[in-house]
Symmetry: C2
Subunit: 768 residues, 2 copies
């Protein structure tokens, strides 16, 4: 039974009633972020119950010394940890000398939490009766500004209900924070300076080892019944803590309010000696606007985001809430402004997994960002990898490859590998294929070929070189084989000839060669520059081609399917539906060896290849492979249901597609994997978007043409989405029997709907 | 280039000249032990240079919390660490106020260290000039008594050479010791009490978590020129340190001597409240004898051991020194008196690997102990596993097996698994076969069938059950396969159908069935008891048989060899001799994935099967497999050269056999693996013994007959060994052209020499 305390609502995530057991889950689900920073929905005031405190700054991480049982050659020295950053949201509250603490209060009533996704804010309200008998009404609201992305704002309001009370607001900054996820209990932050000035405080701190300099800052204002009042705060500054106390004798029924503005300035954006003055600058801008205007700007900014990226679903509130939650969290995590950043698997909602960048970005996130943002955003994501090419070459060298072969890391912060399970780090090399596929996908969608001669081709060459060197010629098979890999299905380790890996390896080489030829023909000066830099000869290209042309693919004549890997048919082929339910999820119930020798598939593997290279297979082949592999798939990766939803929809199996859709879109809201406390599954949320647009909507780009094959789940009355296709925006609205297209743009566009060409013109509704 | 500072000598290990860079290596090589305890050859006096301090007590370990990168289901909670025990050997020396410290002395001359293997003692002598100008002559000797195995004795003698000097001996006990090999820097020892009485001191301490109670004790006596003198010591007792100071104004040329007796009493042998009184008891016995008599007893005890277990080699001092070093260290580690103990891979010479018991015991050590000790010793080693049967069943249950299937641990102290690499712990299951093979081997050698109905059969049943459940029926092959294993060659992980594993699995099942039938026929009451206890039915036995009868073995028709595992021929088959030397050892030069997909073999794998089950294959088959696999073998396991030496000798390739012999026998003395600092490779030393007796001597037992096919390396003039075969001792002396047999016993014995039957009678030399 999945979790179900979140109230169904079209636009908000709502929790009603206080339950200490749900606090950590809600801290994840109600997380807020603005691309530059983010935080779990921790309470501002003291809370002594179970909580997982987390504030995160984009791009600020710590290289935690690798922890292993037995060291193996080639392991990276560190695992980059997402770093809990200094806390600026804290506001302790003292009522007649007693700390407000929901865990120890006599009574908490009318507790409600709301994450308003439409407007981008988080609120909380409750009536608490303290041990001292004072009952207070509390209302809080906070947001991280999209407008000024270094700052966030909190409004914290208290009304004593049953008597007058002395209330103290104690806003503070705290850099004495720790990570839950540390290998060796290292100290991650070095506090350099704690200072204050008037109502402002600043903590300068740098991360150990990485030396990221940050300034955490705050400024507060207090009000009675919306009227600003001047209180001289009592100030305490410790070695890593700055606390201001605003004490006031509040009359019963009056509203005592604090507005706290806070955030971070970081040396990625400012000179490290100027962090305090940069902080003062942003505080000046924020306080000049004030809480209300900042909030209005926030609503406007989110309105702009939704205007482009919203997906509406009619007749199914839970489905609607699910997709909006996914789109909201993706936008909170990454807005595409900075090509030095990427999309961490848990975004700003937890520490788990470490690193910021996985193949998730290329395989799942890029389509979402391409279609809902300016195409520069997707290009930034590609450039992120281009900028890491040298590190990928060094990474390959560590594993014995040479001559510019590039192996992109499984997990990274700065281009270096920072994951250390040999079966993943050294062997899950298919990730390299996704990097190349993203270049192809970007060009397919945007038509921006220029990226390839400018930057992409160098990446394609490094990757092709890797595959050629990584393949082994088997004299036994008289073909090239790829030994010792882990495919996308991580429930198999160190297998030979994983079909997906072999297939994408061959594709990468061919795609590199195709583009070398094209660049040679059409971009002569780029061609010369790249060939000189890469020292690539025709004879080397011939070696690549020999591998691509003669790659081995395991195949079953009996089942007429490609085999996930050598030997797959030797397994005991009992389908998941015949597996005792008490044995699931197998990753919690079974030892690793048992998982490995079972046929069970964590996420699409062979089918992932059919998803990427769909046009190279017939529908019958897809159906045969889907019918062969899906029954063995346990979907214990968050990245699994979306691909299966798309393929089920393509095969016209709408009920199954819908079930997969719910699972992917409400994975965290309903906590399918029983781990939402640890944070959200951000990257798979882009897969949810794909399952609607590509799955139900049937959107594809073929030969520069946008195509649709709209379908609708029977549970829905209608749904709509928008796609930014080559700087024109197409709105698609699908009902049970019709599809409407609207074009926001300047010139007409020919699209394909159910294989028929249709011309849509700006601002005319076309109904099919 | 290997290390070569050890002087060749028939009976001693000798180092001359002091070199601080060699200290850690020598601390390993000169280690002493008596089966109950052991210690690295650390200096008694203070030493501020690089050193690896280690004293160890048999059976006293610590369950160190498991350290992994990512936790996997089924991992044991702890890794049992060999525990550095309280130090009792320490004697600090103060000369005119300056500490003697060889690292900081002005000069060290005539330094010599000797480990006298014939008599079982370690000595050191040197002339040191301190910073204060005083020159002293130092002679030390120490040993761990075989006679009173709770005690050791040290004689430390100083003569001031160039002037009178005030010399202080400061014998001490120290329980404030640490392990180098700790996962989390835990404290391992809890000191309970430090006490003293007259010239005796006692530290009672218990291990954390395991609660092994120990008392470390000492008593000292001082002498001038061999004349006992009474000095009232200055006593200091701290929280984990007890120091006695014996100060004396020594005249130039006089010999100032301390005799220190020390050791441990442990709660495995005494009531934990009686440890001090037990210590007083053993001190009383030791001091009553005194250093000289104790040493004489030591010589006698070692003489008895050598009388039975010595191997002589004439004409090749290095070969002679090598085999004696191996035999000596084996006897220092394990004497077979206590079935609760076993043979740790590093014995009492280091901390690495942890745990005390690996499959090394069954596969390598038992033959040595069977042939050179009373057969009860080998039986004790078998009973050790019998006593752990229930733990082996629980271990299998953790991995999802049921119904009494037993999986013996890869590494253990008390029967529980305590190793945590999934590819080893969960998958290196062939170890289970070695446990069964040892039962077969024991019966084959001793003729003591009684062990099987009494105890062994239960073990065989648990193991057979495991194999039947672990095999998978492949509908594809219409045979049983064993998926996801690591064979003896740990340079392959998670492979399918490792030939060795499949072969020994089949053998185990058949051997269990054969013995069930025999016990049913000949030991009815045992049979009934065992069947009731095991709840074993005929239908279950049929299921076993189905697996054994229809096991799949990978085979190459082209090469006419069994394949190490599925897919072996897809590898790039470049032999070790064609591999660039700069790439070796590959375990230090290559990343793990590269090792895994290479064809290189760490130690005998398919050939290990040919070694165990030699009679099931023809010589031609052995030769073909040897010629196929040995060229890919890098011998980077200490357990590798011995098996290859035996097989090379069998194939008449004496030069190759001799090279392998030197490598196995002088592995540590010459530091082939460049790691002797960490400790010695104890278990492979039994393999060295096998390489002479089974390899060159060609000893086998077939049909209750002892067989020999003597050969001699051309570098040797003669060699001899003794074998205790069924309570008669046969001495074999092999020269270039003859073999002499002598029987110590009471009745004549028919043996086979080069396939001809020969009768030898007690005390008559038979020459062939």
């Amino acid at each position: 039974m999945n979790q179900d305390y979140i109230k169904p609502d079209n636009w908000s995530i709502i929790e009603e009633g206080f339950d200490a057991k749900r606090v950590k889950s809600s801290e994840s689900l109600f997380s807020i972020g603005n691309g530059a920073m983010g935080q779990r929905a921790n309470f501002e005031e003291q809370y002594s119950g179970a909580t997982f405190q987390g504030s995160y700054i984009a791009g600020v991480y710590y290289p935690d010394k690798t922890r292993v049982g037995w060291w193996k050659n080639g392991y990276p020295e560190y695992f980059a940890k997402v770093l809990n950053a200094p806390n600026w949201i804290g506001i302790n509250v003292i009522v007649n000398g007693e700390s407000l603490d929901l865990f120890t209060c006599k009574k908490v009533e009318n507790f409600k939490r709301e994450l308003n996704m439409k407007e981008g804010w988080l609120s909380r309200q409750f009536v608490a009766t303290l041990q001292n008998g004072i009952t207070i009404n509390v209302n809080t609201k906070r947001f991280l500004s999209l407008d000024l992305d270094e700052v966030g704002a909190i409004q914290y309001q208290i009304t004593p209900i049953n008597s007058d009370a002395e209330i103290v607001f104690k806003p503070y900054l705290d850099s004495g924070i720790t990570n839950e996820d540390t290998n060796w209990d290292d100290k991650f932050w070095d506090t350099l300076n704690v200072s204050h000035e008037n109502n402002q405080a600043f903590i300068e701190a740098k991360t150990m080892k990485t030396d990221f300099y940050t300034c955490t800052f705050m400024e507060s204002q207090v009000f009675i019944n919306d009227k600003s009042i001047l209180i001289e705060p009592n100030i305490k500054a410790d070695s890593n803590l700055a606390t201001f106390s605003y004490s006031y004798q509040v009359k019963k029924g009056d509203i005592y309010t604090i507005h706290k503005f806070g955030g971070y300035t970081v040396d990625r954006n400012h000179n490290k000696s100027q962090l305090i003055s940069a902080a003062k600058n942003v505080l000046k801008m924020a306080t000049k606007k004030g809480f209300v205007e900042l909030l209005n700007n926030q609503k406007k900014a989110w309105s702009d985001i939704w205007n482009m990226s919203d997906i509406t679903i009619e007749g199914d509130v839970k489905a609607q809430q699910g997709i909006r939650f996914n789109i909201f969290q993706l936008n909170q995590t990454y807005l595409g402004k900075d090509s030095r950043l990427n999309i961490g698997p848990k975004g700003f909602t937890g520490e788990k997994y470490g690193g910021s960048t996985y193949w998730d970005t290329e395989a799942y996130c890029i389509p979402f960002y391409m279609a809902t943002k300016d195409q520069q955003v997707a290009r930034n994501l590609l450039e992120y990898r281009y900028n890491h090419l040298q590190k990928a070459i060094e990474n390959a060298e560590k594993l014995g490859f040479k001559n510019g072969a590039a192996l992109y890391p499984m997990v990274t912060m700065n281009g270096e590998e920072c994951h250390n399970e040999w079966e993943i780090t050294f062997e899950e090399i298919h990730r390299n294929g996704a990097i190349a596929f993203a270049i192809y996908n970007y060009y397919r969608f945007t038509g921006d070929y220029g990226y390839i001669p400018e930057k992409g081709l160098e990446v394609l060459i490094g990757i092709a070189r890797f595959w050629q060197q990584r393949a082994t010629f088997s004299t036994n098979k008289n073909q090239y084989v790829i030994l010792g890999v882990t495919g996308p299905n991580e429930y198999e380790n160190n297998v030979n000839n994983n079909w997906y890996t072999n297939y994408i390896a061959k594709w990468c080489i061919n795609y590199a060669i195709e583009n070398i030829k094209k660049v040679e023909a059409e971009y002569t000066s780029n061609y010369t520059r790249i060939m000189n830099k890469a020292k690539l000869s025709n004879s080397e290209i011939k070696e690549w081609k020999a591998v691509a042309d003669n790659m081995y693919f395991p195949y079953s004549e009996k089942h007429k399917v490609f085999l996930q890997q050598d030997g797959f048919l030797d397994k005991e082929l009992i389908t998941v539906s015949d597996l005792d339910k008490s044995q699931r999820p197998i990753n919690q119930k079974w030892s690793w060896d048992r998982i490995l020798r079972s046929p069970y598939i964590k996420q699409a593997d062979t089918l992932q290849g059919f998803y990427f290279f769909e046009d190279q297979f017939s529908n019958e082949e897809l159906e045969r492979h889907f019918d062969f592999y899906e029954p063995f798939t346990v979907h214990e990766s968050s990245l699994s249901p979306c691909v299966h939803s798309i393929q089920a929809a393509k095969l016209g199996r709408m009920e199954q597609a819908y079930t997969f859709y719910l699972r992917t879109s409400r994975l965290d809201l309903d906590d399918y994997n029983k781990e939402v406390e640890e944070g959200l599954h951000i990257t798979s949320m882009a897969g949810t978007w794909m399952s609607i647009v590509e799955g139900f909507g049937g959107m594809r780009i073929r030969n520069n043409t946008l195509e649709f094959e709209p379908k609708i789940p029977k549970q829905w009355d209608a749904y709509s989405f928008k796609v930014n296709f080559r700087n024109q925006i197409i709105k698609v609205n699908i009902t049970k029997d019709k599809t409407h297209f609207e074009l926001e743009g300047t010139k007409s566009l020919e699209i394909s709907v159910n294989s028929k060409l249709v011309t849509i013109t700006p601002n005319n509704l076309v109904t099919i």
